[in-house]
Symmetry: none
Subunit: 220 residues, 4 copies
DNA sequence: TATGAATGAGCCTTCATTCAT
DNA sequence: TATGAATGAAGGCTCATTCAT
């Protein structure tokens, strides 16, 4: 009996929700996601009341809580939705690539171009997403890891194929690649997008190519 | 006398305060900075009430406002204090460097080592600082730019000296260098520092060396 | 869509609320008004926390802000509600009046009697209301002006009808009438209502009659 | 012993201070009074921090508390100083007056003229003074009563001399006179002094003369 | 399922007052 | 006597979340 008492006093489990199966619910779920993307991007996570998301999604405040456990989960879900989409798109492009370096190049190019053409998403991913608590940052790590693995896979593949310097530490290479993209896009967003990021892609790739490719491949 | 009228009608300016001259005040100012660094690092900016900072600094809540206009200014001041210190330290090390690449190497090494040995500062700079609003992010940009210029200066110097590939875009190079450091340290902090970041420095520098140095210099 | 952008950049307007249409909300709005009247009267505007009003109205603190933009607006709304009610009541009595002087007499009598029978309202109007800032005092001026116009209208009417001395300045007459009422009620409230104000009405009217009426009308 | 404890727990007595004898202290006391008059008038009682008074008086915040028990006492002291001065001035003018009505006329004229020529004092007396708590309002009543008695004395004197209608209630007459002055000046201050109050004096006196004087005296 | 009114915990900030110097 | 740094209580207001309808 005491143990029951204790358990009834515990805060209820987080009740993780997700993309619903029912197509009508699905649509509303996605509408909230899109509204939240816009709202977070416009106001910033902490300065964006749930009511703003609800208004943008044309639902009542309470409805948000039928689809998401809390505000944090909304943030995380937006991220997951968007990062998975990005990863899927990138993976679809891979078959057209001649080799591992090509894949990295396409990934970098696609990532920057996508954000460069979608300032709201860029603002969300580079700035607002990071305003959240450490807990959220760690929840975000999961989906992000897929992107990490993708990049690391390409690097390893390149090394196996003799295109990328095999002395390079794969995990570090990934950090350099991802960190470069991240920094370039963040600077652009914080500059209030006063220039065209996509124009920088060739210069970034020039440096990354030098950084990773073996001499022969580089001269190709 | 008209100026009185005007000033009484204006909403009072945020009253930017700074490091006081009086040594006793100076000590308390710095004590609050240190307390805030710890507190922000522990709770995160948004989840850290001013009262926590006050308690850590052994002062009353109201005392914070004798030294800082508001909570935001505390955050920015912590950042300025720390980033300026980092930059000063790096600049002091420069005379010992043989060439521009050496300077970059020392900078990267010092930056990562410093944060690697100071988890609280690392957590603050990589995570908590970014939880703040866009407005703050832009206030932060100023002091950070000094670090940017330092790096860009080294790259340009290296190009002039024929050590660094002159085809490289200096601003992009800076973003690759800074982005790499940032990513490496952020991953480490988010991993709850389960490994030693400083152990990665050589691998990072290996990649950056490949990325930037002209062949001759690289083989040196 | 551009309007959205603009609105999101502007600091939000104070969002003036008012008597809601929905009858259930209406009831709560009025309940808060009554609670605020009591609370302000009991503690004084500045010494009355919003939480006291909420408690008296049997609502949560936050609920107040669903009906009023801020504490000031509560004060102003109480005043408007009460002064409009007073004016309406007075206007309803007018048809029974034989002439313009009668109207003034009824107004004075009704005003003093109403406050004399409603110490809480009297205290609010004569004392607590005036504890507010100049800004509020000026917001209050609007509804009050209706009462002013009423009085001035009666005076002018009396002059046209030859009942009131036409050499009298209408605006000044209003100030004498209103100022007399105000002073009489204020003194009574500040005396902690140790006597019966309504007993003074005849004496006041005696003086005002002398002040305003032409000889013939006075001797009537 | 317990009784001692209790008494030591009691809030210490208000420690009423006043105009000091020592002329140096006296000067500082008066300087604070003047500074407070200005500061209260400029910001309003509740929106005027003690530090503003101190700054205007060129003393330290703490110094205020060497001359006054607390902020309330400063307010009351300003009022006393000013109202006593007004009364003294009026009393000095009395010997020049031919009869009781003349005295009333001089009093009304002097009161309105003084405030009309001293907007800061007018704002203080008509608006800011009343923003204080009921407790203060009652402390103010004392000095004000002297003015009341003055007026009532003139009315009674006029009645005795057959100049003023003896059917008039003296206390009510005072309220009409004082209330009229008060209303006229208050309206002027709240109008942001967009017109000249002194221009209204003759119109006010015309009404008051009608209100009070016996026919014979009025036709004089 | 959806609503949106209601809740109430929580925090930044101000400022009257004190007291060590 | 004078200073002004320090205190800390207090309150207006926001907003994530709940729940009756």
């Amino acid at each position: 009996m005491p143990s029951m008492k204790i358990s009834s006093l515990e805060t209820k489990p987080p009740e993780i929700k997700g993309l619903p199966d029912d197509p009508r619910k699905r649509a509303k779920y996605l509408a909230i996601i899109e509204a939240a993307l816009e709202a977070f991007s416009e106001y910033g996570y902490h300065d964006c009341p749930v009511s703003k998301i609800a208004r943008k999604a044309n639902v009542a405040d309470g409805t948000i809580y039928l689809y998401f456990a809390n505000k944090e989960e909304v943030l995380i879900s937006v991220f997951q939705e968007k990062i998975n989409r990005l990863i899927d798109d990138i993976e679809e492009l891979m078959p057209t690539c001649a080799n591992a370096w090509d894949k990295i190049e396409v990934l970098v190019r696609y990532h920057i171009t996508t954000l460069g053409n979608n300032p709201i998403l860029a603002n969300f991913l580079q700035i607002q997403l990071r305003q959240s608590s450490v807990k959220i940052r760690q929840d975000i790590a999961g989906p992000l890891r897929k992107l990490y693995y993708l990049i690391e896979g390409f690097v390893a593949e390149g090394q196996k194929a003799g295109v990328i310097d095999s002395a390079i530490n794969v995990a570090i290479a990934r950090k350099v690649i991802f960190g470069s993209i991240d920094e370039v896009v963040s600077c652009w967003v914080l500059s209030r997008r006063r220039y065209d990021v996509t124009a920088m892609i060739d210069d970034i790739l020039y440096i990354l190519r030098r950084a990773l490719l073996v001499k022969a491949a580089a001269e190709e």
